[in-house]
Subunit: 341 residues, 2 copies
DNA sequence: CTGTTAGCGCCTTCAG
DNA sequence: CTGAAGGCGCTAACAG
């Protein structure tokens, strides 16, 4: 009882060869009922569990996929990871998960580790990288089915699943414009992040299209920075009458900043945010958002990956799929001020 | 170029044996600088990556730990998973993650799969089970270092990390009592969940200790059920003047129910919730909560696991560690109504 | 229908 | 300091 049982232990106890045990466990055809019984009895008695590591090595299939996300405490990423995990479970695949903290080097190292573990495929929310600069362009990733989620890796042949960032941002901004706002400020994180860049662009296009002047504030992800930016904006002589926030983090930070000033949109200033969040409709008033289909995103990415994995390896060029977003109108944009009774 | 390079390919190209390659890659002492160079050159040329599966099989160490959580879209669980993952990264371990959806059978199957993959340790937030009934009590888990998080597995020898559920709940309830409330209702999920049972008990003790009559509503995790319960409570002749909600999901659902009725605590009714959440202080007024140290919980559990893994296997009885919670007073309990100016 | 042989890719052990 | 042999636990391919 010094160590865990091996297949040979089972075989010996059942009085058969390891091949017979293997066949019984893998439900391969053609083993006498009698022997099957003996094998099962021995398995039970020894609490035998097959060693999947050995099996994977032998079969050259790990039955694992890898997931790489920046953070797990961002609800958007967590939901993606959850739904990917659900699909993997359906396929009887294990999931190896890691977090990059948005650091390209960490991402590279962790993804490399997954490769060495022979994952059969990879879903990555790539960290920030200059175009053509991603460490994921290294040659060892060429032969691996990879789907990037939320952001592309420029210059790669990876499948890629995005949302309508630019279009959604335009939609949200135009909604504010349609309500008569002229001075609409944009608040987001660094444009080096693909999603931020696209959303910024959508905002600008909407503004320019309406003959208005865009004005963007770029924050770090620290709360304090957002607070400073909000204070400055609100103390302008010509202060904005509306804000467009580029993701759920920014939205929350900006709301904190406004709260500090005793301002609650749409009073004094209207607000629309990109990316829905759990309590957006519990705030008073509710926050109008451009909603991304997070759960569907994860599920779709996983399905794309399993499809790719089942193909006869001809990666040619990666597919690019863009999922639609939707405007969810709540109170913060001012649209519900006159309630129909 | 038909397949990925093996160590023997590197050896051949470098004109050495596989052992020399192995030694160079593992920085074992005693290889000529000249040969080292040759090996590195060959590695580079072939884009050679060692096969960790084979290494694990050979070394009987997978360098993997497993994490099992109910859901990843619950922020509490997601934060735990994130901090566990961070610690694992520090130790150069990979993380295999799965979700049980609170289903004991899924939990058992997924954890078993992890065992077969030879994870070296396991952190589990156990799904609901009657005492002594958990499938994790099966004999194959006896020899595996396991830390359970947030909830214990009764009758197991697993290490266990909890928070002061009962005490925290008592604290929150007593806070409401201290503000003069007599009719304080409890709203939580099924008492079959360990945390719920403990929090319910803490509430009851606080009530009985103050000579008050407890009144509990038990909801399912569906929003609709909570809405019904809230409506019923608020239509009572002797309706409660305060509510204690047992977790962040319940709190949010109850707030939705109250919002539907146009009620915003502490007006009409005061409210305290167990478990903090992202926007609790953005609501108007902010929600008073009993805060659990989610990030610390994950980190501590991971440290406990790595400690256990490094020990010379004498599991004796599992350790049980209980982390403190803290009351965060915001507006919803009514304590801030008279602001000192 | 069952068993034997061989090898997945790597590293420990022991020779040279 | 380097190499050859052997085996981690399993299964494909080929006997019998």
């Amino acid at each position: 009882m010094a160590r865990t049982a091996r297949m040979s232990d089972v075989a010996r106890l059942a009085g058969v060869s390891t091949m017979t045990v293997s066949r019984v466990l893998n439900r391969s055809a053609g083993v006498t009922a009698k022997l099957q019984q003996k094998v099962f009895a021995a398995v039970e008695q020894l609490h035998y569990q097959p060693n999947d590591l050995a099996r994977s090595l032998r079969e050259q299939r790990s039955h694992e996929i890898g997931i790489m996300v920046p953070y797990l405490f961002d609800p958007f990423f967590a939901i993606c990871a959850h739904s990917i995990s659900a699909v993997a479970k359906q396929h009887s695949y294990s999931v190896v998960l890691s977090t990059s903290d948005e650091d390209p080097k960490t991402e590279y190292e962790e993804v490399s580790r997954m490769l060495r573990r022979n994952v059969e495929g990879l879903i990555v929310i790539p960290s920030h990288a200059q175009a053509g600069d991603s460490l994921l362009l290294a040659p060892q990733f060429d032969r691996m089915p990879i789907v990037t989620l939320d952001r592309p890796v420029e210059g790669s042949g990876f499948d890629c699943l995005l949302v309508e960032n630019e279009q959604g941002s335009k939609l949200g901004t135009e909604h504010l414009i349609s309500m008569g706002h002229k001075r609409i400020a944009y608040i987001g994180l660094s444009d080096e992040l693909y999603t931020m860049c696209m959303r910024h662009r959508g905002y600008e296009n909407a503004m320019l299209g309406a003959g208005l002047r865009p004005a963007a504030s770029i924050c770090t992800s620290a709360l304090e920075d957002a607070l400073v930016k909000v204070r400055r904006l609100m103390s302008l002589k010509q202060r904005p009458t509306a804000l467009f926030c580029a993701n759920n983090l920014t939205t929350r930070h900006v709301l904190h900043g406004l709260q500090e000033l005793g301002i609650y949109p749409p009073e004094t200033i209207a607000l629309v945010g990109f990316d829905d969040f759990e309590t957006a409709d519990l705030l008073r008033p509710g926050i109008t958002v451009v909603r991304q289909p997070s759960e569907l995103l994860g599920r779709t990415a996983a399905n794309m990956l399993f499809k790719r994995m089942s193909e006869s390896r001809k990666p040619t060029a990666g597919k690019r799929i863009v999922l639609p977003v939707e405007l969810v109108v709540r109170g913060s944009c001012g649209a519900l001020r006159r309630k129909p009774s």
